[in-house]
């Protein structure tokens, strides 16, 4: 098993005819994901390498049975694209688009909270269950099928962590990039809960960063609900306070936003802390070795 995406995933690509959309749709197909449809308004009837393109998500779902969507639609229209997918019956929506106005996401996230629909992102790299399915923009060949779940607030730092695991022969069940925006659909706790239930996942690597208090909430969940070991790294311990470091999320606000506070909370909850971003793989290896 794995979480969220697998061989049953039937993927719809919103914004499939754009530059990024077409490039990464092809990447998903090449990885083995069942890409069943694309949507670009007014491009209906065309196709991308044989994948039919529809004008609306409603039509795409009706004709192809798509159950998951990945959104590459430009920021001004991305909130609308997510809402369309939700209403058309998509149960997992992965939004890659960055730069969506925060108030658009307030509306979207409030609407989705009243349903069972899960949103990953926005401003995220997507997710992958190695060997089964890729719904994202990551380079598939750095991943290896296995039993470690990975969940991260950062895109490229996830790739870094995963490549360390793969080089050590440690495979992954599913890797989820949550996204760096102030308002995201899915947080650490949601994904930890899924990994805890997933029989294939033996341990979880959690990658946090400065800003907000998601890591502290994850720590509470780890302490109360996780039986599986969690290896954690928090980026930004060298960041000067008060400066914004790129991600809207990566700004230190108050003491709870600091890396040191997050690391302390995670350690106290029983997570094993990787001392350096270059030691995420080796720390995981040690944890796995001590269990077998």
């Amino acid at each position: 098993m794995s979480i969220l995406v697998d061989k049953e995933t039937r993927l719809l690509v919103q914004g499939i005819t754009g530059g990024e959309g077409s490039f990464h749709a092809r990447g998903c197909i090449k990885y083995g994901t069942k890409v069943v449809a694309g949507v670009t308004p007014s491009k209906g009837g065309t196709d991308l390498d044989g994948v039919p393109v529809f004008n609306t998500v409603y039509r795409a779902v009706a004709e192809t049975g798509a159950n998951t969507s990945i959104v590459f639609v430009p920021a001004p229209f991305a909130g609308d694209a997510i809402l369309e997918a939700a209403e058309a019956g998509i149960s997992l929506i992965v939004c890659i688009t960055e730069g969506i106005p925060t108030l658009d996401m307030v509306m979207v996230s409030r609407h989705l909270k009243q349903s069972e629909i899960r949103l990953i992102g926005p401003n995220c790299p997507g997710l992958i269950s190695p060997g089964k399915c890729k719904v994202g923009i990551m380079s598939g060949d750095i991943f290896l099928e296995g039993n470690v779940g990975v969940v991260s607030r950062s895109g490229t730092l996830t790739y870094e962590a995963v490549s360390q695991l793969t080089e050590l022969g440690i495979g992954q069940s599913t890797c989820v990039g949550l996204g760096g925006d102030p308002i995201i659909g899915t947080g650490f706790v949601d994904v930890l809960r899924l990994f805890e239930k997933d029989p294939e996942t033996e341990a979880v690597v959690l990658i946090g960063e400065i800003g907000g208090d998601q890591e502290q909430r994850a720590a509470e969940f780890i302490k109360d609900k996780m039986s599986k070991p969690v290896i954690a790294f928090v980026a930004g311990s060298s960041a000067p306070p008060g400066r914004r470091m790129g991600h809207a999320g990566a700004i230190i606000m108050g003491s709870s936003g600091r890396a040191q506070e997050k690391i302390a909370a995670l350690r106290k909850a029983g997570a094993i802390i990787a001392a350096s971003p270059a030691e995420i793989g080796s720390t995981t290896r040690k944890v796995l070795a001590s269990r077998s």
């Binding site: 530059g19 990024e20 990464h24 920021a75 001004p76 890659i96 960055e98 969506i100 106005p101 925060t102 108030l103 996401m105 307030v106 509306m107 996230s109 409030r110 609407h111 790299p125 994202g136 923009i137 990551m138 380079s139 750095i142 991260s152 607030r153 950062s154 895109g155 490229t156 730092l157 996830t158 790739y159 870094e160 490549s163 760096g180 102030p182 308002i183 990658i207 960063e209 400065i210 907000g212 208090d213 998601q214 909430r217 790294f233 980026a235 930004g236 311990s237 060298s238 960041a239 000067p240 400066r243 470091m245 790129g246 991600h247 999320g249 990566a250 001392a275 350096s276 971003p277 270059a278």
Partner: protein, 389 residues
Amino acid sequence: MKVHEYQAKQLLAEFGIPVPRGGVARTAAEARRIAAGLAGKVMIKAQVHAGGRGKAGGIKTVSSPDEVEQAAKGMIGSRLVTHQTSPQGVPVSAVLVEEAIDIERELYLGVVIDNAAGMVVIMASEAGGMDIEEIATTSPDKILKAHIDPALGIHPYRARRLAFDLNLAPAQIRPATEIISNLYRLFEAKDCSLAEINPLAITSDGRILAVDAKLNFDDNATYRQRAIAELRDTEQEDPLEVDAKSKGIENYVKLDGSVGCIVNGAGLAMAVLDLLKQVNGGAANFLDIGTLNEPDRVVQAFRILTSDPDVKAVLVNIFGGMARVDIIAQGIVAAANQMVIEVPVIVRLAGTNVEQGERILNESGLRLTRAYSMQEAAQKAVEAVKKSS
């Protein structure tokens, strides 16, 4: 994006929130003219994008037009240093001249995004004034909160409840309810990320008005808030960061080390900073090159780093995803062709299209130090700095 107090107050007034009478002046003579039209004591306030103005001498209360002119002369054209600015301070190009308000009570009113709840939250407190941040940490129960469902928007009963909980006099409930509702409407209509009135003053004659105000705006919404974007004052921002933005690099922060960094993704960029520190080096900057697949973006990043005298080596660490490594490699080659790079350049590439990227660098004949892990890259960068110094 931030705006000046006078601009924030103009927006508040547009949305029906009472503010003190007065106007903005760019010369001492203008300040005097505005003061002459106001009765009684006058406040003169330096217009800068930083807090802590009062303690830094950026706010003065005076009694005559002569004193206004004098105070304005001292402020306009100077630089104001507060605990929120760099030691160089920020330039004062304008002052706000206002009627001084006889304040009886100071309330706090703010609207922000609550990330965890995914909603806009209105915050109000009886304990307004300078110590609000301390109160928020020491006694959070003194801050009243109302989360607003975006589908419902603001309704009078929500604002009214806050007004009553602020223990206002009966005659103040209606104006306060309107101020609260209107601040939320402004926040939503203008894509704010913060709308704050502190203090929201109750005067000795029972009026309620916004004595100081701060509005920040969501940079992602600039495309639909053209009028707000016009209010940007780049003089108030760090010149290096303004220059980076003009070159298409949105996320550049100058730091005090000597390894210039070009990284994709904020998380990885922060991790590179952390790692440099652990191998006894230091980053000269944070630079997230973003995901736009355009070689010129890399060239511009090199331009920024090579113009920084603190940079003794450049570390390029790219893990391609949305960003394609081959395009980054083209950018590195283009940068080397377009400018003289005198410092050693350490390159570590991985991810999407890495084979093509490696081939481009190998065929370029450039003298680059190559690394194949971030640890190796960080160590080689720190060694290169040591050798050059």
